[in-house]
């Protein structure tokens, strides 16, 4: 049985991505007790699935490692993984949350040696790589996994293979008897940081994401570029494994569209500009990237980055929203059809690979939060009196890049701290 001590002076942070980690750390480092709840087996969220950050083109693992260290070292933070908040009752200063914990089938004895994965035969889709590859049914979710502990997939539990996996562990860490459990946690304030999910590209019918293998999304492209990804960091297209030297990026794939997401997702323009530099990095002068856009919205301080990418000979910018994609079944090349806005020229351009810059939608929409909270039409949390002591943070509140998500998380930590201080002053 998991034991967690929590009082109404505890801050419950829901979601262990960059925003949740930040909010938890800021609050804990101010001396507050924090319980950090994450649905996945590891912390880090979508940031851990990025190859590089814009605009400095540095690796997110660097900042993530610092945060992981801070969490490890801070006794005030209690991390619960594979845990979901299913119910919230009470009010500001006095909440009770039900937290459902799914069995990991691996206990804290795990040293991360990997013998269980050696013993496993069944392969399951690799969620860390957006299902582009497979992992064994006993797996470490990612190289940077925190906690650094294996997971056994429920599909092999109760099978001879499960027993084989258990037998392979020298440390008695595999526990196939683990059951789902539900905890009741007290909290004075709640930071809701459940982040975002990529818009379902298959819904954009003319782009054929569901029909054409060489049409992928921006988040999948991150995994292709990453040395820890399914291709070992080589930009190989899915249909035939050919090197994708001529890559098209389609902006606003689902965003700024009354038929899909009404909002501008903000990060995708700069993200695509960043990804053109992956192509440049891998293929040098042979690289060719074409960004099809409505408007380049390199917000904030990113104008310089935009100017730098624009000056790159390998990058072409075409002001046009692509109307239709067709993949040639023989060559596997993808042909983009449309009309450009600067001169109204009709084009049918062939590329090796198409990357759809899909936008952000909240992974838990306002109506899905198990408490009364205010949300906008897209389901992002907004400030409101009904929220009480529940504060949205990061991409649960808006389409944000990492920098802004962290700012938002820090702000929500401060709001939560104020609630806790009030509770403390009453209780003395």
């Amino acid at each position: 049985m998991t034991e967690v001590v929590a009082t109404n002076q505890t801050i419950l942070v829901v979601g262990g991505g960059i925003s949740g980690m930040t909010a938890a750390l800021e609050a804990a480092e101010c001396g507050k007790d924090v319980v950090l709840v994450e649905k996945n087996p590891v912390l880090g969220g979508r940031v851990s699935q990025l190859y590089r950050y814009f605009p400095k083109m540095c690796h997110p693992v660097c900042g993530l490692e610092i945060n992981q260290r801070r969490i490890k070292m801070n006794p005030r933070i209690r991390v619960l993984t594979m845990a979901e908040v299913t119910e919230i009752s009470g009010q500001k200063g006095d909440y009770t949350a039900s937290v459902k914990i799914s069995p990991r089938y691996v206990n804290e004895n795990c040293t991360g040696c990997g013998d269980c994965a050696q013993a496993a035969e069944t392969e399951i889709p690799d969620a860390y790589n957006y299902n582009l590859g497979k992992v064994k049914a006993a797996f470490l979710p990612s190289k940077m996994a925190h906690p650094q502990r294996y997971v056994v997939d429920p599909s092999v539990v109760g099978t001879p293979e499960g027993e084989k996996i258990k037998a392979a562990c020298k440390y008695n860490a595999v526990d196939l008897e683990m059951k789902e459990e539900t905890l009741q946690l007290k909290a004075g304030a709640i930071v809701w940081a459940t982040g975002w999910k990529p818009y379902d590209a298959a819904k954009i019918q003319p782009y054929g994401y569901d029909r054409f293998s060489n049409v992928i999304t921006n988040v999948e492209f991150e995994r292709l570029a990453d040395p820890h990804g399914p291709t070992g960091g080589k930009l190989l297209r899915p249909s035939d494994g050919k090197e994708a030297k001529n890559v098209a990026f389609i902006q606003c794939a689902g965003s700024r569209d009354e038929n899909h997401l009404r909002h501008c997702s903000r990060f995708c323009c700069t993200a695509s500009l960043k990804q053109t530099q992956y192509v440049r990095e891998k293929f040098g002068d042979e690289a060719s990237s074409t960004v099809y856009y409505i408007d380049i919205r390199a917000i904030d301080r990113f104008e310089d980055f935009y100017a730098k990418v624009r000056a790159d000979q390998s990058v072409k910018l075409v002001k046009s929203k692509v109307a239709k994609i067709v993949q040639d079944p023989k060559s596997g090349d993808v042909v983009l059809h449309g009309v450009d806005t600067e001169g109204y020229h009709r084009y049918a351009n062939s590329h090796d690979l198409v990357v759809l810059a899909v936008g952000m939608e909240p992974s838990v929409k306002g109506a899905g939060v198990p408490a009364e909270v205010a949300a906008d039409a897209s389901g992002f949390l907004i400030p409101g009196d009904v929220n009480g002591g529940i504060f949205g943070a990061g991409c649960a509140t808006n389409a944000l890049d990492v920098n802004r998500a962290v700012q938002s998380a820090t702000a929500s930590a401060l709001r939560a701290i104020q609630v806790i201080n009030k509770v403390a002053s009453v209780e003395g």
Binding site: P206, C252, R256, D257, E258, N259, H260, I294, D295, S320, K321, V322, A323, K324, H337, G338, V339, D340, T341, Y344, R346
Partner: protein, 200 residues
């Protein structure tokens, strides 16, 4: 003065006088309509360009363009427009305005056929299909008309055998019961439309 120079009140005119014209300003120039139009390669100006021309005040070029006459009402543009502009309706609205202003390009076949259809229909309250197809065949002269009619001969005979085409319709054809009532109705409808769209 400046208004005269740039004529930028054309957008206002379109908003007032064209069906759904008030949506023209919502276009964000993404180009999906133009790229999606099955007739796209055959137009002088794709919808996106036409909207920009309206906003630039190019009244003469817009109204004398043949583009809006090329629309087949497939609605692909409306379905895909990220701003949900009723592009098809605007195209038809522009065509109507161009017609009322006498700006239709000479010999534009869609406009010609539209007029034929209207004249044919309003005369009796019924579409006289025999006369309509004949007037279409012969629109480019007698010689071409004979050629067209010969080419369509088997279709015509087939329709006749199946009882779908009465050759006696050539003598004037049947009409609806209250023909003058019907025509009065059309007149009234036009009056209402003219007042509303300031077309009179």
């Amino acid at each position: 003065m400046s208004e005269m120079k740039y004529h930028n009140n054309f957008l206002r005119e379109v908003e007032e006088r064209v069906e759904e014209g008030h949506m023209v300003k919502m276009c964000m120039q993404c180009g999906v309509c133009s790229g999606s139009c099955p007739f796209g390669p055959h137009w002088a100006h794709p919808p996106q360009e036409l909207f920009m021309m309206i906003r630039a005040g190019k009244r003469e070029e817009v109204l004398s363009s043949d583009s809006m006459w090329m629309c087949t009402s497939c609605y692909q543009c409306i379905v895909r427009c990220p701003r949900k502009l009723p592009i098809t309706h605007i195209m038809h609205g522009l065509a109507y305005l161009a017609k009322r202003e006498g700006k239709v390009p000479k010999g534009q076949p869609t406009a010609q056929f539209g007029q034929m259809f209207w004249d044919n229909l309003t005369k009796t309250g019924r579409v006289n299909e025999l006369k309509l197809s004949l007037s279409l065949y012969f629109k480019d002269g007698f010689g071409q008309g004979i050629k067209n009619a010969m080419a369509m001969q088997s279709v015509g005979l087939g329709l006749m055998k199946a009882g779908r085409l009465n050759p006696l319709e050539i003598l004037g054809g049947h009409s609806i019961k209250d023909k003058s009532g019907f025509q009065a109705m059309l007149k009234k409808a036009r009056e209402i439309e003219d007042t509303r769209r300031k077309l009179a």
